[in-house]
Symmetry: C3
Subunit: 149 residues, 3 copies
């Protein structure tokens, strides 16, 4: 376990990164439950198993869950890259934790705002707040490695 | 090459991780071939090159390939993160290989079930089986780094 | 900062990887601007804030931006994995930089070709050229770790 816990910043990043992966899994589970409850299946073979081909159809709330999930792919997956590299640039633990925590909380709020259709611009604000630590990390990494371009 | 092969578990993870990336690339190639064969292009400029704007259209099998690919993004990309970190928590090689192999085989079955539209719930079962090692790795990582939250 | 800059190839990879993440962020920003300008919102709550539910609608250029973004997820995110691992297999800096640079330039061209709807097959060629260093890295990694399967 030496490598993982030798770098406190990296361990802190891993903690929030894994929680965000679990958050993404939860959206996938919710999507599946909504499909079953609303009987709206993307594939005919699933519809056939759950009552008939008439349930091979779209549903607005399923599409909302899908958008929340894809937005996570667009934002959380790049964070997993940026956070790991940023942890290797030697930031102070408190500053790094602030980056990770702001991203984590803003992305949780983003999912809540999406799934509960909270009034605009709640979701957009959560998205923007989550981008701030990402852009900060990206710039700090670029400065650290610019000499190796 | 020292770093890559110093950790046997990590090397084992990398082996299956890269195979799964290649599997994703294969779905992209299949999607492109189906677009050409069925003449169903997402972009007007592609349709124009292949016979005319009437081929700027959707096709159910192309959409199936797209769903298979996006499901891979949702599951294989987080695995690439979890597997790398899990490899640094010091698991035994045999237990770790079991995690990677179950995920790998289940995701290959998932793609086959999707592309051949196998009877439900084959694809859903493959999805669930693949999630088991992921959740197991996520929990083991959280336990390893919980002190650094 | 020791770890990050101890490996020149890795630092070079990180430089181009972070630039590509920023490139993905820029597509997200463009998509948002196009939604506002064309008044085409994916969510009713966003439409309500910007003039009314009639703006909860699709727009062909927004969909084009979405396809460009998802294609990035399918290709740039796997590159972030392959490039990091490949950097640990001990390649020469010049050969490795060539891999990263070809991928970077081809993906920038891919985005430009997508957003400006350049004549086919510009975008497809950019896609294929970007895949060449990825497949090359994948094969070199597999050779390096094949013994650990």
């Amino acid at each position: 376990m030496a490598f993982l816990t030798r770098n406190e910043v990296f361990s802190c990043f891993v903690f929030y990164g894994v929680l965000l992966v679990i958050k993404m899994y939860i959206i996938a589970i919710i999507t599946g439950q909504v499909r079953l409850r609303k009987k709206a299946f993307a594939n005919p073979e699933d519809a056939l198993r759950h009552g008939g081909l008439q349930y091979h159809r779209e549903d607005p709330y399923v599409e909302r869950c899908r958008r929340a999930h894809i937005n996570d792919l667009e934002n959380i997956l790049p964070f997993l890259f940026l956070g790991a590299i940023y942890s290797m640039t030697g930031p102070s633990l408190s500053v790094a934790r602030l980056h990770f925590l702001v991203f984590f909380l803003a992305r949780v709020l983003h999912s809540v705002a999406y799934l509960f259709a909270l009034r605009a611009p709640t979701r957009s604000l959560a998205y923007i707040v989550a981008q701030i630590p990402c852009v900060s990390m990206a710039l700090q990494i670029l400065i650290a490695v610019a000499a190796y371009a």
